[in-house]
């Protein structure tokens, strides 16, 4: 009796597994990899919002080559170790397309795995130049590089701000330290007076020693390379201690997580951001769809994620299938029409042209163009 039951349940489970794979064959799965939990969860949400809207719109228009798209979410918590685990899982789940990852420190190790396994990856948010330096063919990005963002910030500093003593702080991670070094190099080449170049640890809450050091060195300008959590605390504590300095940060800091912690002390922060794609009248219907779902269309990575999906889908349509090798070859030879502009990729997989813009960030979360 027991043996029969075991055999029956084994047969049933095999059948069920078979059924589930049958249904999966009709959809093309795109992995959406990014931080769903952890300190960078806000950005992960932007990636998901943009990508999901793209998948929705494309499915409404009939899908791709007769199949519907399906987005599958994977959480890497902005942690390189988890990102590697996620990449392996995506490969095991036999998914060939990835929109992600988000944090440069996660994208870097994951991209090595995708390249080995022939998985096409388009990142809408990782700006570290190192990601496309490895010569991977399967790696593309729909956002600019820190090697452009850094000099953009530094040029603005030397042309418009002209401070006397500059401190550059970073969070020792790939994104933050890379940017900080890039800014430092450009500022040094222009002869600026950099008095401090220091790293802080992510997860630290007390920066009073650092701020006292900056006060002693009479710092009047601080560039911070990193994410919003630590900068929010630094701004708040600097304001309490009476440090009078102009702060500047990259796109990883400009969101409501910063204002939640820093409050009024976030007023006047300079940020370099991708241009406001949401204010482009051609994107109005997308902005309206997002608004209807209560999602913020001006959030940094929403439309770049939409473009990432768009680019993949156009490549699938052009090659008539899902062969990632053929797709990556053709992606370098054509111009894509996306919400973030007419995109062209160079040999490394970077966009041939991407402008970062300097904005003034305000305590209520809005931003205005900096003069």
């Amino acid at each position: 009796m027991k043996k029969k039951f075991k055999l029956a349940s084994l047969a049933a489970s095999v059948l069920l597994m078979g059924v589930s794979t049958f249904s999966a064959a009709d959809t093309i799965k795109i992995a959406l990899a990014g931080p769903v939990t952890g300190p960078a969860a806000q950005y992960g949400e932007m990636l998901l919002n943009g990508a999901n809207l793209a998948i929705e719109n494309i499915n409404k228009a009939g899908g791709v080559n007769g199949s519907m798209l399906e987005g599958v979410v994977y959480d890497d918590a902005c942690d390189p170790k988890q990102a590697v685990a996620v990449a392996n899982k995506i490969v095991n789940d036999e998914i060939q397309f990835v929109v992600g990852h988000l944090c440069s420190s996660s994208t870097q190790p994951a991209s090595d795995i995708y390249e080995d396994e022939g998985v096409l990856m388009v990142t809408p948010a990782s700006t570290s130049p190192a990601i496309t330096e490895a010569g991977h063919q399967m790696v593309f990005r729909t956002i600019g590089l820190d090697s452009l963002q850094g000099p953009k910030a530094a040029n603005y500093v030397t042309n418009s701000v002209k401070p006397k003593s500059i401190a550059i702080i970073h969070d020792k991670q790939q994104y933050g330290e890379g940017l900080a070094s890039s800014v430092k190099a450009t500022l040094e080449s222009k002869g600026s007076n950099i008095v401090m170049f220091e790293g802080i640890t992510v997860g630290d809450k007390d920066f009073s020693s650092l701020i006292a050091k900056m006060q002693k060195a009479k710092v009047d300008f601080v560039y911070y390379g990193g994410y919003h959590a630590e900068l929010g605390l630094i701004l708040r504590q600097a304001s309490e201690k009476g440090l009078k300095a102009q702060f500047m940060g990259p796109e990883g800091v400009a969101n409501d997580g910063l204002t939640a912690v820093a409050g009024d002390s976030a007023e006047g922060l300079l940020v370099t951001l991708p241009p406001s794609f949401d204010s482009n009248p051609l994107n109005k219907s997308l902005v309206d769809s997002l608004k209807a779902k209560n999602q913020d269309a001006s959030a940094v990575f929403v439309l770049t994620s939409y473009s990432a999906v768009q680019v993949m889908v156009d490549a699938m349509k052009a090659t008539g299938g899902t062969d990632t090798d053929a797709m990556q070859a053709m992606m370098r030879t054509t111009t894509f029409n996306t919400p973030t502009g007419q995109l062209q990729f160079n040999d490394k997989g970077d966009l041939t042209d991407f402008e970062f813009v300097v904005y003034n960030f305000h305590a209520d979360g809005s931003k205005t163009l900096a003069k």
Binding site: V36, T37, G38, P39, A41, Q42, K172, E198, G199, I200, T201, G203, K205, D206, S208, S209, L210, A212, K213, Q215, K216, A229, G232, L233, R236, E240, K241, G242, G257, T259, A260, V261, A262, G263
Partner: protein
């Protein structure tokens, strides 16, 4: 007085502030170890819960229309202490008491599991993002020459005073009260205390509750001071506090206080005079050095083998 002196003073004050907060949480670790010889890895999470409850209480009370700030903070403190103590007591009953008497490693693993469970419970309940609280107590004193002004904020003063008062209260409780005597007895020899009629289960629960209350106080103070909370702050704070407890001698309450202050001041001076990047390297190297020469910590009592 020169600029250098005031800079030194400022870094010292910063260090003592951070150190006091480590000390408050370290006491929880050291007391539990002293009584049942177990490291309560979930203690950092109790502190984190204290911070969250504070934020929720303050937001809730201000929404109800109560404007008077000291009253709001006092109510939030009481609510946070009640919540943390309940959690501390419940953690002991569910994760540790059933495992009492087993191999030392088993409650340790249970503690780690409880820690992970609480972090993820908060992630589900409150979301994984940082939540912020606007500054509630602002202002302070500045002194020194114009070239460098050292400053102490009122919040920092409150942290010093609150820590000092609670340390004093705890030491008085342990040395003078009946329950305190029972705690010391159980710490010396649990089985003997049992034989002599002391309700050891109640003593152990009391220890957890006291540790949780101090962690809640730390949660309130740090929540007001830094204004940020997320489900993972307990992990880092717990790690630092545990280090402080070991540095000062695990099992010794004055040791936890001393260890906390030393750790805080070391971090502060390293960041102020050397480099903020090496802050943790220096602090933990100090721990290694001290343990090499005094394995039981600065004020720890050497383990006596009872034959």
């Amino acid at each position: 007085m020169s600029e250098e002196f005031f800079y030194f003073l400022q870094q010292l004050l910063n260090g003592l502030t951070v150190g006091s907060t480590y000390a408050l949480i370290a006491i929880g670790y050291t007391m539990v170890y002293g009584i049942i010889g177990m490291i309560n890895f979930a203690h950092g999470e109790v502190y984190m819960i204290g911070t969250y409850v504070t934020f929720i209480a303050i937001t809730g009370l201000t929404m109800l229309g109560i404007e008077y700030m000291p009253l709001v903070i006092l109510c939030a403190l009481i609510i946070a202490i009640v919540a943390s103590c309940s959690f501390g007591w419940a953690i002991e009953r569910t994760a540790y008491r059933p495992l009492r008497g087993t191999n030392r490693l088993i409650p340790l693993i249970s503690a780690i599991g409880m820690s992970i469970f609480l972090q993820n419970y908060l992630v589900q309940a409150q979301g994984a993002r940082d939540i912020g609280l606007p500054p509630m107590i602002t202002g302070g004193w500045s002194f020194g020459p114009d070239s460098f002004q050292a400053s102490v904020s009122y919040m920092q003063l409150i942290i010093f005073i609150a820590t000092a008062v609670s340390m004093l209260a705890l030491t008085t409780f342990i040395s003078k009260s009946k329950m305190g005597r029972a705690c010391r007895a159980v710490a010396q020899d649990l089985q003997m205390a049992n034989l002599l009629g002391i309700n050891t289960n109640r003593v152990i629960s009391t220890t957890f509750v006291i540790g949780a209350a101090l962690a809640a106080l730390a949660g309130v103070l740090l929540g007001l001071y830094y204004g940020i909370a997320n489900p993972y702050i307990g992990f880092i704070a717990g790690l630092k506090a545990f280090t402080a407890a070991v540095l000062g001698g695990i099992g010794s309450i004055p040791g936890a206080m001393l260890g906390g202050l030393i750790l805080g001041v070391t971090e502060s001076f390293t960041a102020g005079y050397f480099s903020a990047e090496y802050k943790d390297v220096v602090a933990f190297s100090l721990l290694v050095l001290i343990l090499l020469f005094r394995p039981t910590g600065l004020l720890g009592k050497p383990e006596v083998e009872k034959i």
